[in-house]
């Protein structure tokens, strides 16, 4: 199920087609065998060897599956990398990538990293004697100060979750390269539509594809893309060896979601900008965190490295009691964990996504008890603002 010669022979670097086109024409959009307009869901675990001298491309679905391969090729194309990999969840992608390290290694990780990544690093990897230093990644001096002789990797999340701090990807990546460190970026919030870290010198891009890439809150999936083939081989050995792979049905749903990524992101971002602007003028709301706001400290860096501001807005309601009131009063957004869906999702980091973080660590990282995170969906923005206005008034 290769690209039918639609891509230039000399590969992706020469692929000048625009992003929206790549989303639809990613190589496996048409089934080679039947001509079907959508890649088939190959729900097989194993594959017959028609000729024992010429084994089939895939021989066992953990090692490779045609449907999964289609989405893996698509994300590699979209991120501009050498190889893509699909996993059972974002955490499965992140945990597999971290297992490139060995006992005795050290990682430098952004301090307001996703709670699940924090938990994996501090409970599982720490047992394997892999040590982590959490730093304010927006401060290059702090990143440099964390370097140790056994440092192997720098892990960034930008914008970070939930306080949307901005890391200068190119600056960190070039410093890391000087010291022979591997760099990874969790690109979940931006998606390759808005930000392509590999183009900024990063080695591995990771996604919770459950979020914007899938986009419908109906697929749990993770993706990874490596910048080069050599790293791709190493990550492939781990994907196959550890087996945390994405199933064919989910791979197909993810691919289906990805086709509308640009349309969804455009719409959600327009709404998020209006929401952030409205919130920042609301007397009942404290600080608003959104890289598109003029006073956001990372705005300049963000504009240099990204093509958009994204669809997640965090804001401080002032107290736990008020945050809880708002959560119980809103009618439109679903109150849940996760983000990046067609439906707006309002969540409470202190009790949800970042509950795995001890309260004192959370406070230190600016994830206060009054903080709410709004993932803006595709509803009409006037409806969302009216709904939130009412909830804030009542609270």
């Amino acid at each position: 199920m290769s690209g039918q010669g639609k891509q230039p022979e000399n590969g992706r670097a020469a692929d000048k087609r625009r992003f929206a086109t790549k989303l639809i024409h990613f190589g496996s959009e048409v089934d080679e065998f039947t001509g079907a307009s959508s890649t088939p869901i190959v729900q097989a675990s194993t594959f017959h060897h028609h000729d024992i001298y010429n084994p089939p491309r895939h021989d066992y679905s953990r090692s490779g599956n045609p449907t999964r391969a289609a989405v893996e090729e698509a994300i590699a194309l979209l991120e501009g990398g050498a190889r893509g990999f699909a996993f059972a969840s974002g955490m499965a992608a992140i945990s597999t990538a971290f297992l490139l390290l060995s006992a005795g290694d050290h990682a430098i990780v952004t301090e307001d990293v996703y709670g699940g990544t924090y938990r994996f690093l501090t409970t599982v990897l720490s047992r394997m004697n892999i040590e982590t230093t959490f730093v304010d990644m927006t401060d290059l001096g702090a990143v440099k100060a964390a370097l140790k002789p056994n440092t192997r990797v720098v892990f960034m999340e930008t914008p970070s979750n939930p306080t949307l701090k901005i890391t200068d990807i190119a600056a960190v990546a070039s410093w890391a390269k000087e010291h022979g460190l591997l760099t990874m970026v969790d690109n979940t919030f931006m998606s390759p539509y808005h930000q392509r870290p590999l183009e900024l010198g990063v080695d591995i891009v990771l996604h919770s594809a459950t979020k914007f890439l899938g986009g419908h809150s109906d697929v749990l999936a993770g993706l990874a893309v490596t910048a080069d083939e050599e790293l791709g081989k190493r990550l492939y050995a781990l994907q196959n060896g550890l087996g945390a792979v994405l199933a064919p049905q989910e791979a197909w749903l993810l691919m289906r979601g990805m086709k509308t990524l640009q349309a969804r992101m455009d719409q959600s971002e327009n709404s998020a900008r209006r929401l952030a602007d409205w919130l920042s003028r609301h007397p009942g709301v404290g600080r608003v965190y959104y890289p598109g706001l003029p006073d956001h400290p990372g705005r300049e860096v963000h504009e240099r490295q990204s093509l958009g501001y994204g669809a997640v807005v965090s804001f401080d309601t002032g107290s736990a009691a008020r945050a809880k009131e708002v959560l119980s009063k809103v009618r439109l957004p679903i109150v849940a964990v996760s983000l990046g869906g067609v439906e707006s999702i309002l969540s409470y980091p202190a009790m949800m996504s970042h509950a795995a973080m001890p309260p004192e660590v959370r406070a230190q990282r600016g994830i206060g008890d009054g903080l709410l995170r709004y993932s803006v969906g595709l509803e009409h923005i006037d409806d969302l603002i009216e709904d939130l206005e009412e909830a804030l008034r009542e609270a």
Binding site: Q43, A44, S45, T46, F47, H48, H49, I52, D59, Y60, S61, R62, N65, F87, A88, S89, M91, A92, I94, S95, L99, S102, A103, G116, F120, T123, V124, R127, M128, N129, I130, T210, G214, S217, D218, V219, L220, A237, G241, L242, G243, A244, V245, L246, A247, Q249, E250, L253, K324, L327, S328, I334, V335, A336, V337, S338, G341, I345, Y348, M351
Partner: protein, 389 residues
Amino acid sequence: MKIESRLAQIGSIEEPVTGSISYPIYQATAYRHPRLGQSTGFDYARTKSPTRSVLEEAAAELESGDAAFACSSGMAALQTIFAMFSQGDHLIVSLDLYGGTYRLLERIMSRFGVATSYIDTNDIEGMEKLRRPETKAVLIETPTNPLMMVTDIKAVCGWAKDKGLLTIVDNTLLTPFFQRPLELGADIVIHSATKYLGGHNDVLAGLIVTKGEELSKEMGILHNSIGAVLGPQDSWLLMRGMKTLALRMERHQYNATRLAEYLQGHPAVAEVFYPGLKDHPGHEIQNRQSSGNTGIFSFKVKDARYVEPILRHIRLIAFAESLGGVESLMTYPAVQTHADIPEEIRRAVGVDDRLLRFSVGIEHADDLIDDLGQALEAARTEIEGGVQA
């Protein structure tokens, strides 16, 4: 309740709203909180999802465990279990071992300072010699794959418990329908559910079943943290497969016995490894701890040169990796499933270039005998025909 009934009824009365006899596929990743601090029991699909939960509850019950965890593959289940261990820990593992497990231990876990010793797990004295203060667990496959060596589960568990070690049993080949290791004293059961539990070669899945509250809790944390979880569509397909497990296993056993007996008398075959045969060294232990035999066995042809033409001439039987499906598959372990095990270890165990593994499906046994018979004859004619004529 008998196990056949529990299997047939997986998920059948769990859906309270519509009464659907087939449990719905909840494709949702996020679950609305009715009020803050209140949860329906489901928050985020990686942590817990309704379709996966019905499967996990059934698996725990079938294996007589306290909790079960569904993973994206058998290897994902193993890596989740292995994440319990820490740098410096040591494991004792069956010598005749699935190649993927060996690779995970030797290429990945070794980098994190987890060491492994391999031994025939019936040799308790030998295991005692290998035991160190850092030894944390014993992992056994019984019967082993592909040589069908049988380990006395009760004896190993008794010794391990005495020494404070965890016992992990890979129960892929027998399934809880024929063997329930937790009832024999094991702490953790693992499955590549891709095989007999799924049974149709169409789902990649793994299951972990744990005994005891503390162990179950720890495994739950790892399952969620590592995130190698099974998706809803595949959870549903796996449950669907499990509903016919009893029927399939009985037919797999019947067909495998017929084929093993047939091959035992065939002039091109040197040896047949199947615990269901009376002269198999593990026959007695197998009968004591299991209520039946699996559907796969291995056999050695008399001449390695037969292998290639046999694989070329089989028509009904597919030449493919994996096992445990309704369709018959033939595998060449030395180059497929066990290629990652170094040759000297493979040879020491007996996985050599004359060994073929046969996963016997549920086709009619006579058709399978006919197909294999003609392939064996064709192979003999090709290799020796010139000489004999």
